[in-house]
């Protein structure tokens, strides 16, 4: 069976699975890296925006036909994820665009259709909606409707998403669910700096258009040992980051750290929780989650986006289809409330550790 439950350790490890094929066009490079990795295992403590910055540097270095563009990326970007790129690669490869998201993505699709790697930045995920038509109608369907003659696989759209503590309506949204409804694109969300670097490099080198959401709360907050060399993490593979036997928790992005705290608290009450990082939202790794639910019999999903129509609904429905007779309790979803993302009420809106802990207990005691 191709699914692999991987152990998560906080030591230096390049987690490239040898059993499954990487969905990238650079497999030769990966093998070379695996050999190299034996020799150079240097790593540095980096935060999320530095890890992403490193990934972008590597991407531009290794492919001369890759470009980074977006609003204000030239001086480093509002979150400093693109620092040093213009200085190193020049204004022809790293450049600012005017304030037009629809234009940015449309332009990126065209660039990618000519075989280049276009790495477009949307300044905040809340502003991605003018580009929604381009992503859904153009990018996602290009290969399909041209009978594989054309594609915009080189397109990667990066956008900071998620709550940041005081963002209010338009600097905190989590729009991943809208994009998960579109066959033809991939949606990837990293949980930490080390993951982000590997996943971003995989997304950029993946032959499909990818939307890469970066949890902005973690830009400075998350610090981790990140290997300095070029490495890629496989897409569409979920990772079990904490093993348990009583209940499976599934999440992504910044929410995982909250869920981990809830798991630790639940442990004190004798509930053993298994925590899975989905990483890629579409196409998502159903096997890993199913295997885990078959083991525990209970599922809880948590995300910041509003609960109705959020991606948790898809996970819940799929798992119920596959594991109905095994489930001991209804699938729980601890998510944002069904309101616009509030300003002052953010602590009420968010799926906090206590809400998750409460749901864990009520699911286990069903």
């Amino acid at each position: 069976m191709a699914s692999c439950l991987r152990r998560y350790g906080r030591r230096l490890s390049v987690s490239i699975c040898e059993k499954r094929e990487l969905s990238t066009a650079c497999e030769g490079k990966v093998i070379q890296q695996q050999q190299q990795q034996q020799q150079q295992q240097t790593a540095k403590l980096l935060n999320l925006c530095s890890a992403i910055n490193q990934a972008l540097h590597l991407a531009l270095e290794t492919d001369p036909r890759s470009y980074v563009f977006g609003e204000d990326v030239s001086f480093g970007g509002v979150f400093r994820c693109t620092t040093g790129l213009t200085e190193r690669f020049g204004k022809n490869r790293v450049f600012n665009t005017p304030l037009c998201e629809q234009g940015i993505v449309g332009f990126g699709i065209g660039l990618a259709a000519m075989g280049n790697r276009a790495i477009a930045e949307i300044q905040f995920a809340d502003y991605i909606y003018p580009a929604f038509d381009q992503i859904v109608n153009e990018a996602a369907k290009f290969r399909y409707r041209s009978g594989n003659q054309y594609d915009c696989g080189g397109l990667t759209i990066r956008a900071p998403y998620g709550a940041v503590g005081h963002g209010g309506h338009y600097h905190s949204q989590s729009p991943e669910a809208f994009f998960c409804h579109v066959p033809g694109i991939k949606v990837v969300i990293p949980r930490s700096p080390q993951q982000a670097k590997g996943l971003l490099l995989s997304c950029i080198r993946d032959p499909n258009p990818v939307v890469f959401f970066e949890p902005k709360w973690l830009y400075r907050l998350a610090v981790e040992e990140v290997p300095e060399h070029d490495y890629m993490l496989p897409l569409s593979e979920a990772e079990v980051i904490r093993e348990g036997s009583d209940i499976t928790l599934v999440g992504w992005g910044a929410q995982l750290s909250i869920m981990e705290q809830a798991c630790t608290d639940a442990e004190k009450d004798g509930i053993s929780c298994e925590l899975i990082d989905l990483k890629t939202l579409i196409p998502w790794d159903k096997e890993t989650v199913e295997t885990s639910v078959r083991k525990t019999g209970r599922l809880l999903i948590s995300h910041e986006a509003p609960v109705t129509g959020g991606f948790g609904a898809e996970i819940s429905a799929s798992i119920v289809e596959r594991c109905f007779l095994r489930l001991e309790a209804p699938v729980a979803r601890v998510c944002g409330l069904d309101t616009p993302f509030p300003l002052v009420f953010e602590p009420f809106y968010m799926p906090t550790k206590n809400k998750i802990l409460d749901a864990i207990k009520s699911t286990v005691n069903y």
Binding site: E71, F75, P98, L99, G168, H169, T339, P340, S362
Partner: protein
């Protein structure tokens, strides 16, 4: 309020060397601030026009109006600076986009229109809200997220609204307010009330596709909308020449006439808006480009000095500051003494401090407000509160 020195200076020759060229027709000096005798002042910079006849440089005004310009702009300036300190003290959270430097646009526009005309703008809306009649208490409460705020504390800095004064906000998404503004104008045309809409946007938003869509429709249907581009030359960190092929935003309308106005001169703004209002009621949309400048960065998280030099900022402050200009005009015409103007400023400072103190006492909104006004009559969907067992709200 009689001025002691008026009697001694009744001679008519009071032309002092100033940056602005002045001429006035009234040689009688009346008590300041209540006088409504007409005064004609010429703007220092002529209007540049595109596909229309520019209005005259001579602006009709009154001493009362000039004094009120000074007071209003000084209030706005003081308010924005106070908001800056509150943000740094973490009493205001989230995003805060300050308008200081651009006050002349808000004040000049108000002088030319009525409260029945509609204004809609982007997120740099604190001063526009005050111009529409908003109180300082409402401003500071909303900024701090309290109940006394104009949007009940639920909107924050970017979402100020005032229905009874036709102020439609207050929008966070760049450029999204322009098609909305054209829609307002459409409704106004239907109601035949001889009212117009002012849709404001920035030089950054001028490159949004929806602007051109809205412009086309407005011109096609002859809507009474005035599109005002507040060109402060920087779209966040990007200078206009980096973002726009043609930084002549007043010409961007192509088939829509345009006017370029010195946005740091409240009188020029008033003249242009008056002209624009008459124009659109007859001929359909017009674009006004206000050449203005913001002293602060884009928002409180932007120092404002990584993409422009401090010399540039202080240069503009010295040469073109809107409040200083009005002060010079007032003093040149002997409408008030320096001391009186300084007293105004002290009063304003006190008012602002009082408003802040009052706002701090206003409570945060009730938790039930979180679910209020999502829909009018909803699906009755359920939502969980902080504790899943206890609070299971059915959305109203």
């Amino acid at each position: 309020m009689a001025l002691a020195h008026l009697t001694s200076s009744s001679r008519s020759n009071l032309l002092k060397p100033l940056a602005t060229v002045l001429s006035y027709t009234d040689s009688f000096r009346r008590p300041i601030s209540t006088s409504t005798d007409p005064l004609t002042i010429e703007t220092s910079v002529p209007f540049t026009s595109h596909k229309c006849e520019p209005p005259s440089r001579s602006v009709e005004t009154t001493p009362q109006e000039l004094i009120s310009f000074f007071r209003d702009m000084a209030t706005m300036r003081r308010m924005e600076i106070a908001a800056d300190s509150l943000y740094k003290a973490k009493l205001i959270r989230g995003f805060c986009h300050l308008y200081d430097g651009q006050e002349a646009v808000a004040v000049g526009m108000e002088a030319a229109i009525t409260k029945k005309d509609c204004i809609i703008t982007a997120y740099r809306d604190h001063c526009t809200f005050v111009g529409r009649g908003g109180t300082l208490l409402e401003v500071f409460s909303e900024l701090m997220g309290r109940q006394a705020g104009c949007s009940n504390g639920k909107g924050g800095s970017m979402h100020f609204y005032r229905k009874d004064a036709g102020f439609y906000g207050g929008h966070g998404i760049v450029g999204a307010q322009v098609p909305l503004g054209c829609g307002l104008a459409f409704a106004q045309k239907y109601s035949k009330g001889e009212t117009v809409t002012f849709a404001l946007y920035g030089d950054g938003a001028a490159n949004q596709g929806q602007l051109f869509e809205a412009l086309n429709i407005s011109a096609l249907w002859d809507l009474p909308v005035i599109l005002i581009c507040e060109n402060n030359h920087y779209g966040m960190g990007t200078a206009e020449w980096r973002a726009s092929k043609s930084p002549a935003y007043y010409k961007r309308g192509d088939y829509v006439p345009g006017l370029k106005v010195d946005g740091m001169d409240a009188l020029a703004v008033k003249q242009a808006c008056k002209f624009a209002k008459e124009h659109v009621l007859r001929n359909g949309p017009i674009i006004l480009e206000m050449d203005t400048y913001r002293y602060h960065g884009h928002s409180m998280s932007d120092p404002g000095s990584t993409y422009r030099t401090r010399d540039e900022i202080s240069g503009v402050r010295q040469e073109r500051d809107p409040i200083e200009r009005i002060r010079k005009v007032i003093l040149a015409h002997d409408l008030a003494t320096e001391k009186e103007l300084k007293d105004f400023e002290k009063e304003i400072r006190k008012e602002v401090d009082q408003a802040i103190a009052q706002a701090k006492e206003s409570p945060m909104p009730e938790p039930s407000e979180l679910f209020a006004n999502v829909y009018v009559k909803g699906l009755g969907t359920e939502a969980f509160g902080a504790d899943r067992k206890e609070v299971r709200a059915v959305l109203p």
